[in-house]
């Protein structure tokens, strides 16, 4: 996908280069919006888990943001404002793809694993979880968020969708059930599986490895 914001002046450089002059505040903001594109695409991919839907959601977001720039309150953060638009466009995509989304959720619930390997027959854990140390240290590190993205990416699509709707989009579980067209019980099952998988993944790839200590 390539969306760029062409300037009126003939001979101006490609999008992303500094304006030669004459660009007002809205020109700067349009450039700022264009610069957010890679980040928006990563978010959309994580939440939608469908490349075409993600690209469509981001394209719609960029267009809506540029067209709506006049309504943007300059005192607020551009990134936050645009991410807010993206969230709405992501929901639109979920609705357009609702059939596929619900079929994949059914499949996960039918065939997905039940985390049996984490527990012994008597219900005790197989391995002891480790305390993750000072949360602030990890949350302050960009590398931690790269690992988190990788862990989200490893989740089966329906689990990642349910989990991010809940924890990133702040949906209620009732609304998640509606979007994914699953029963309330199944909704909790998917959120449970997602959290346990993510916990294991972060423990292995960040907290147990050297990742959390590299630049400590």
């Amino acid at each position: 996908m390539a969306i760029s914001f062409k300037r009126d002046e003939p001979g101006s450089g490609p999008a992303g280069t500094a304006p030669a002059g004459g660009a007002g505040p809205s020109g700067d903001a349009a450039q700022g919006i264009a610069a957010l594109q890679p980040m928006l695409l990563r978010l959309a991919r994580l939440q939608l888990r469908n490349e075409a839907w993600a690209e469509d959601a981001v394209a719609e977001t960029l267009l809506a943001a540029v067209e709506g720039l006049r309504t943007f309150d300059q005192r607020s953060q551009l990134r936050t404002w645009v991410v807010g638009i993206l969230k709405h466009k992501i929901i639109d995509q979920f609705r357009r793809g609702s059939r596929e989304v619900s079929l994949e959720a059914e499949e996960e619930l039918r065939d997905g694993d039940d985390l049996g390997e984490l527990f012994q027959a008597d219900g005790h854990r197989v391995s002891q979880p480790s305390a993750w140390g000072d949360p602030e240290q990890s949350l302050a590190r960009v590398e931690f968020f790269t690992v988190l993205q990788a862990c989200l990416d490893q989740l089966p699509a329906p689990l990642a969708r349910a989990f991010l709707l809940r924890e990133w989009m702040d949906f209620t579980t009732a609304d998640i059930c509606k979007e994914l067209q699953v029963t309330s019980t199944n909704c909790f099952v998917m959120l449970y599986r997602a959290r346990m998988r993510l916990r294991e993944c972060l423990e292995t790839r960040w907290f147990a490895g050297d990742g959390s200590k590299d630049h400590g």
């Binding site: 978010l43 854990r125 949360p135 993205q149 990133w168 972060l202």
Partner: protein, 64 residues
């Protein structure tokens, strides 16, 4: 009547439900009793709290 003592496996499911504000008083009570005597589940509870905070911050902290 089911025991007031639950397994770690059951407690993990309740910990997830707690993140969604989905527990009734009986489930909350059983979870609290379990957590009194189980360090592993207490750790998992803190892990899940950090996970939640991290995902909320994802769009602010993500590179790019």
């Amino acid at each position: 009547m089911a025991s007031v003592f639950i397994t770690c496996r059951q407690a993990h499911a309740l910990l997830s439900g707690q993140c969604d504000g989905a527990l009734n008083w009986r489930q909350r009570l059983r979870l609290r009793i379990h957590l009194l005597g189980c360090d592993a589940c207490a750790i998992v509870r803190r892990n899940l709290a950090l996970l939640s905070r991290a995902v909320h911050a994802l769009d602010q902290r993500m590179g790019g």
